[in-house]
Amino acid sequence: MKTPLKDYWLVWRMAISARSRADLFVLGMTAFFSLVVGALVMLKKDDALLAASMALRTAVGGAMLGWMLYFVPGAVKLNSPINARLVPRLRRRLIESTALAWVCVVGFATLMSADTQLAPALVLLATGTWVAAYGLGQSGHPAGSWLQVAFAAVFFFNRRIPPALIDSLAGGAGFAIAFLLMLAFAAYALQHMFMHGGERHYAAREAQALQLERTSVEGQFKERKPGRFDAGLYRWVLARDSAARNSARLLVHLLGARNHWTNRALTLATILALAALALLVLRHYASAETVQMTRDIGWMFATPLLLGAMFDTEKRNVRLKETAGEQALLRLAPPLPAGAPAFNRKVAVTLLRTALLEWAMLAGAVLCAGVMTGASAASLFMQACLCCLTLPLVAAALRDHAHRSGLLGWRLLLGLIVSVSLSLGLGLVLERAAGLPFTAGAALVSIALTAALIARGFQRAQTAPYAFPAGRLA
């Protein structure tokens, strides 16, 4: 193999090795979906050429997705200020391979648009700019992330763009200028992604590390720097809890400043205030039909807030894993109970209380949003019952923390699906057997299920080893 090819191969391997078994995952998933798509097209259309073409498109799409999700973050990580300056050819090869992949992505997307209604020139410009924005975002530059949001907005509101502007970009001088601007932007993005060491690179490294952290699920839940207002509020709460010398309240601080329940309360209050403002504007300026529609189904839009209960659970799990060192110091702190059963009970009560409080705040916010939209009493009742369906999530705080720590991931989702299905199923039975409203029955089952799970969690805590430091026996 010639030296440049060897270099490219090495750079590719090094970049994707930042995530374990990424290459196998990308190849496996790409192969699987290509075969599935090919088989489905064959079954539906009975056209071998079309099936092969669709399978090939899926394969190329999968490879590109893998490149974006795994190679780009890994490559940015690899180009550390030290590597950029001291490792021969590394930075150059990273830039070259990234540029080459961009050309392939843009070329492929443009080719794919050939037999569609989309103008290939516009596809080329849009794909090229988006890919560069993506790379810029991955290197921690805030403009990259904002540009991606702007692209999403264009996707939803493209009908508002004047047709003349679109036509001018689709060919001629307009296209040439836009193309040159795109190239300049891509060059800037590449330069920012792969800096050449020095002070600027060191300064950008923190943002890069933060961005790289966000590419992993666990990284999403890591403690972030609090805003000025959050920090002020937290300072006050911490001083108050320290003065009170209440060990349960002090234990909650193990979860960090951003994850303290006061922060959650502040976030929800802000969301509700913004929603109230939006509803006020809507009432004044929207048509009567829209206002009525808001009253009828507006409450439903607040329901996704309930998913926050899942995020809260995972956030606590990740924080407990991350603060194992701090937990060792707390284990030796005098007022916490001696002996694993009593200690674990204290930890369990504290975590459960926090989980219940955060769930109650979420449910309260959902109901509050319902009231603000002018939902009927029946709708609010249904909403309250829906809130109860997520209540079993609070029991996930009661784990054998010594043996298991970190994300619950799909197990949490699966658990929620099972508990919701069970609640709905038994709710139906209760409706038929006792005439209880379906949602009320489901909510009651969910509450009973929560009680059972909590009882089981406490029983397990009694026999488990010391909960802190979490994950030491994993």
Binding site: H253, G325, Y466
Partner: protein, 289 residues
Amino acid sequence: MSTAIIQSAAISKHFGSATILNGLDWQIMPGQVVGLLGRNGAGKSTLLECLLGLRELDAGSVRIYGEDVSQLGDATRARIGYVPQKSDLFEWMTPRQMLGYFQAFYPRWNAAKVDALLERWGFDKLMQNKPISKLSGGEQQRLSIIRALAHDPELLVLDEPVSALDPVGRRDFLRELIDGVIERGTTVVFSTHILSDLERVALDLAFLKDGKIALQGRLDELLEGARRVVGPAALLDQPLAGELRRQRAPDGTVSVITHGGAGLGALGKEAGVRVEPLSLEDLFIEVTQ
């Protein structure tokens, strides 16, 4: 005879198939200042964590102040100070907030000492109100030591407390350890790789090797009694008294490390035999290799 503060008997600890501690017996007496030595990965941190009950034992038992380490009461825990190897110090808090937080846990808290140490160790107002995550490794380690000393512990366990400190920081720490801790009669157990610090502070040494305390004794006695005997194989073919280690060089000479062995004077007079004293560094290398 006074009772041991830490009493460990036949403790074993495995991580997967690796044996870290292997039936280790160790006792720390009141007022003792013990330096724990061992190579990287020998299990010093694990041993200290097991002694404090932060890790479960696979076998054996540990008692601190007569209490089982898994059931330490409030009063006993209030007597212990611990500086972990990695300063995990609630890095989202500021030094002031963190110290206030721990003050809330401890019944006794020497605020005057905390203020004095903060001032002496360069924590000005600005630094005291900066998030701990923004402090350097050395500053975090100094803060960790202040936190551990703040409640005037009677037993202080330090796991490589000076690894991130510069020479000035190390000197300040050792001065505080000697003047403010050891002279008060505090029992100290600390692990370190910096042997010159040990020679200034530790009265006793313990070498950890293969999951056991391979050698333990007073520092001066260990250095006094440790010798390297080098000579022809014909003269050194029999095991020597207090022999710790034996090595044969390619040229046929034999090197024997002994500790406290008698009769070396006569052997040293034999033709071709050298008897040399050992420095602490030599002893560390020879015992832990």
